[in-house]
């Protein structure tokens, strides 16, 4: 079955979920109040961020760190904390600031465009 809409008439009884694996559709990125910004030029490809990210939100392309999956990154900051002190290829900025800043906007935009979606930033 498919959910027809969001009204009380449409939801499943008791909130049961007859769509196995639908957590994939849940964009936990909405929860974020702080956003990691990845600086490609400073990154030494040590993969520490990829190893420690609890949400598998560090994207890898051709075996290289390629950016951040903002649809699922909750903004915990572990990647920035784990990024080596001499490198600082990841920094945390406020989500509001990110939305307003050109750099943050570009990050979010390019990430969405890769998936063929409209940016939400």
């Amino acid at each position: 079955m498919k959910l027809r809409g969001n009204s009380w008439r449409d939801v499943t009884p008791g909130g049961l979920i007859p769509w196995p694996g639908n957590s994939r559709q849940y964009e936990t990125g909405d929860w974020r109040t702080r956003r990691p910004i990845w600086h490609k030029d400073r990154c030494i490809q040590c993969y520490r961020c990829w190893v420690y990210c609890p949400d598998s939100a560090i994207t890898i392309k051709d075996s290289k760190v390629a950016g951040i999956d903002y649809d699922h990154c909750k903004g915990c900051g572990i990647c920035a904390a784990e990024c080596p002190d001499k490198v600082v290829a990841l920094e945390m900025i406020g989500e509001e600031e990110a939305i307003q800043s050109v750099e943050g906007f570009k990050e979010a935009k390019s990430d969405k465009e890769e998936k063929g979606e409209k940016p939400n930033a």
């Binding site: 969001n6 009204s7 009380w8 008439r9 939801v11 009884p13 008791g14 909130g15 049961l16 979920i17 007859p18 196995p20």
Partner: protein, 394 residues
């Protein structure tokens, strides 16, 4: 042919459960419900049913196991009383919100404390906001009939709501009565095959029951649950109509008794309705315009039927076999009074708390009560709203 038998209320309920032949019964014994579990377990041992009987370690587990079984796709039943129902508290709400059509017999008994094993309605009245349909029985016949109808009501595709069928502890559960019982195959046909909507055991179509549901959707799910309760009255009546064709016994949400031309009336649930009917019969022979409204279904609350039935009366005594401790009358009083306030000339309403902890209410008590109501019609002075019937005042 239907058979006339002599049985106690507990035996009648256990018999109904045998005829229903549920897939799972998970139950824990508690006075005065114990016999239901004991008799049913002998049906299991004697292989008279196909039921998986789960002997749990508590009522919390009894309801939890019933929920698990029902979610798995089984027709699940249980029974309890008093503190057992109170111990189920947390999970009865979950059964209702998960829309699991479990049918449970509640043999009404006073809640502790002081500890007491006899009848009052404090147990099921406390569960009135849990989202379960509640059907009160006047005698063993009704308890038997309500259990069978309960299955059809609970499992109706538009409802999927759990049903509590109550009967007064000891007064009905342990008293011998004549009653008519149906043939096994007639009951089987009436309840039909249970077709669960989202059974967990359907591994081709996996579902998740009971996920976290926060402010973004909890409200919608509760609204949907409330809607099922809103339409339940109509479905309960339809099931009663079908049952009448089978049994010849007629049931409504309420049962008016000599109300058409009555000036005064009682509103009552459970076995006291029988006592009050005998009083009405007696007073009617004397030409007194007295009547009675028995509430059979308390959840959903049949406000339309109650308003219609109590229209034109002068004084109504609303009887509660439990106290709400609000200091403004019992739960039945508050809901009935609130419903009939929409009448242009609502009757004077009085709250009578009676029969707590099994305190006997006999014909003399009810006759005296009708007399008091007639006095009020005569004097026009309602006096105290909140009254206690049968308590030692001196």
């Amino acid at each position: 042919m239907p058979k006339k038998v002599i049985m106690k209320g507990n035996e009648a309920v256990a018999l109904a459960m045998r005829q229903i032949n549920p897939n799972v019964v998970a139950a824990y014994p508690i006075t005065p419900q114990t016999e239901i579990v004991q008799i049913f377990s002998s049906f299991v041992s004697d292989e008279l049913v196909d039921t998986e009987f789960v002997t749990v370690e508590s009522e919390h587990s009894a309801m939890s196991a019933s929920i698990g079984a029902s979610a798995a796709g089984a027709r699940a039943m249980t029974a309890t009383s008093a503190n057992g129902l109170a111990f189920m508290w947390e999970v009865i709400y979950i059964a209702a919100s998960l829309r699991l059509p479990i049918v449970m017999a509640v043999v009404n008994r006073a809640l502790s404390g002081p500890i007491n094993i006899h009848c009052d309605h404090s147990d099921s009245m406390g569960a009135r906001d849990s989202g379960w349909i509640q059907i009160y029985s006047e005698n063993a016949q009704e308890a038997y009939d309500n259990m069978i109808q309960g299955i059809r009501i609970a499992e109706h595709e538009d409802l999927k709501l759990p049903v509590m069928v109550t009967m007064d502890g000891f007064i009905i559960s342990h008293a011998m009565e004549n009653l008519m019982v149906l043939e096994d195959d007639k009951v089987e046909d009436f309840i039909g095959e249970y077709k669960p909507q989202y059974p967990l055991l359907d591994i081709e179509n996996p579902v998740t029951y009971g996920p976290l549901d926060l402010y973004d959707f909890y409200f919608e799910h509760k609204r949907q649950q409330a809607e099922a309760m809103r339409i339940a009255g109509r479905i309960i009546k339809n099931v009663a109509d079908d049952y009448e064709k089978l049994s010849g016994r007629s049931y409504g949400l309420v049962e008016p008794y000599y109300l058409e031309d009555a000036k005064v009336a009682l509103v009552v649930l459970g076995s006291t309705a029988g006592t009050a009917k005998a009083c009405v019969d007696e007073l009617r022979l004397e030409g007194k315009k007295v009547g009675l409204l028995k509430i059979r279904v308390f959840r959903p609350f049949p406000y339309d039927e109650i308003i219609e039935a109590l229209k034109g009366l002068k004084v109504v005594a609303i009887m509660d076999r439990s106290d709400s401790f609000s200091s403004f009358g019992g739960p039945v009083f508050n809901e009935v009074r609130s419903a009939i306030l929409s009448l242009e000339r609502p009757p004077i309403t009085l709250s009578y708390i009676y029969g707590l902890g099994g305190r006997d209410v006999n014909l003399k008590d009810i006759l005296g009560l009708y007399h008091d109501l007639e006095e009020i019609v005569f004097s026009g002075e309602p006096g105290e709203v909140l009254r206690y019937l049968g308590v030692r005042e001196s």
